[in-house]
Assembly symmetry: C2
Homo-oligomer: 152 residues x 2
C-alpha cells in the first residue's frame, strides 16, 4: 500500500476516534455534538454572527438539507435564531443568539480541554500540532479562522 493511501485510511480512522472524544466531552457537559459545536463555531466567525444557511452548508461541507436538519435542535433550545432577509424572501439566515454566544464560549473551553487531552498522551509538541494542521489544510477541508493574517 502506498504512503498516500495509508495516510488517507489512517485519517479516516483517526477522525472517528476524535469525534467520539469530542462528542463525549461536549455532550456530557453541554448536551451538544461535535457537529453542533462546529456549526455554532462557524456562525461565531461570520460577521454579525450570522450566515445564510446555504453558505453555512458550504462552509461545513454539508448539503443544505443537512443544515436544515442540524439547526432544528439548536433553534429549539434557543442557541440559534432564524432571521429573514429584507431584500430576498428566499434566503434565511442562521444567527447566533446571545445565549448561543454564551454557551459557545463554555463549549469552546470544553473543546480545548478535549483537544489538550488528545494531544497530551503521547505528548505532542506545538510544532507537531502545527505541522499536522498545516498538512491537513491542504486536504480540502477549508479549516477555520479564515481571516487572513493582518486582515479584520
Amino acid at each position: 500500500m502506498s504512503r498516500g493511501l495509508d495516510a488517507a485510511l489512517r485519517l479516516v480512522r483517526a477522525q472517528a476516534a476524535l469525534m467520539k472524544r469530542f462528542d463525549a466531552g461536549l455532550g456530557g457537559l453541554h448536551g451538544v455534538s461535535l457537529a453542533d459545536f462546529t456549526m455554532l463555531l462557524r456562525l461565531s466567525e461570520a460577521p454579525g454572527d450570522r450566515m445564510r444557511r446555504v453558505d453555512l452548508a458550504e462552509a461545513l461541507g454539508l448539503t443544505a438539507s443537512g443544515v436544515t436538519r442540524g439547526l432544528v435542535p439548536l433553534e429549539r433550545i434557543g442557541l440559534v435564531r432564524r432571521d429573514a432577509d429584507a431584500r430576498d424572501a428566499r434566503v434565511a439566515y442562521a444567527a447566533l443568539t446571545e445565549t448561543g454566544r454564551e454557551r459557545l464560549a463554555d463549549m469552546l473551553v470544553t473543546a480545548e480541554h478535549v483537544a489538550e487531552d488528545i494531544f497530551a498522551e503521547p505528548p505532542w509538541t506545538k510544532e507537531e500540532a502545527a505541522q499536522l494542521a498545516g498538512l491537513l489544510s491542504r486536504l480540502g477541508g477549508t479549516g477555520f479562522t479564515r481571516r487572513e493574517p493582518g486582515g479584520a
Copy 2:
C-alpha cells in the same frame, strides 16, 4: 483557538472530503463504499483472510452491530463468507471469499488512484505523506498493515 483544536477540527473536515472522493471512486467502479473497502482490506490482512466478527469490529473502530450490518451486503454479493467456529458456537468468522480477494485487488488499484489524485494537487512529496501518516498514527487510529517492517 489552540493549534491542537484547530488541527482536530481540520482533521474532521478533511475526513469528510476524503471519504467523498473514495466513495465516488470505489462506488463508481466497484459498487462499494469506503467503509466496505476498509472492511475487506482488514480481512485481507488477517491470517487466513478471516477474523472473528468482534475482532473485526475492534479493528475498524465499530461496534459489533455495525459489523453485522456492514457485512450483510458484502455477504449477499458473495465477497465475504460466514464461517462457524468448530469449538465455540457463539463465534462466527467473517472470511474473504475467492471472489472477494479478486475484487479487493481491483478495488485496491482504484483506491491507490484516488489517493494519488488526492495527494497530487497540490503536489505532496513522499516525505510529507509519510509525515502525515506518522502524525496520524498517534491519534488512536490503529492503522493498517500492522506487519512489522522486515516481516512478511
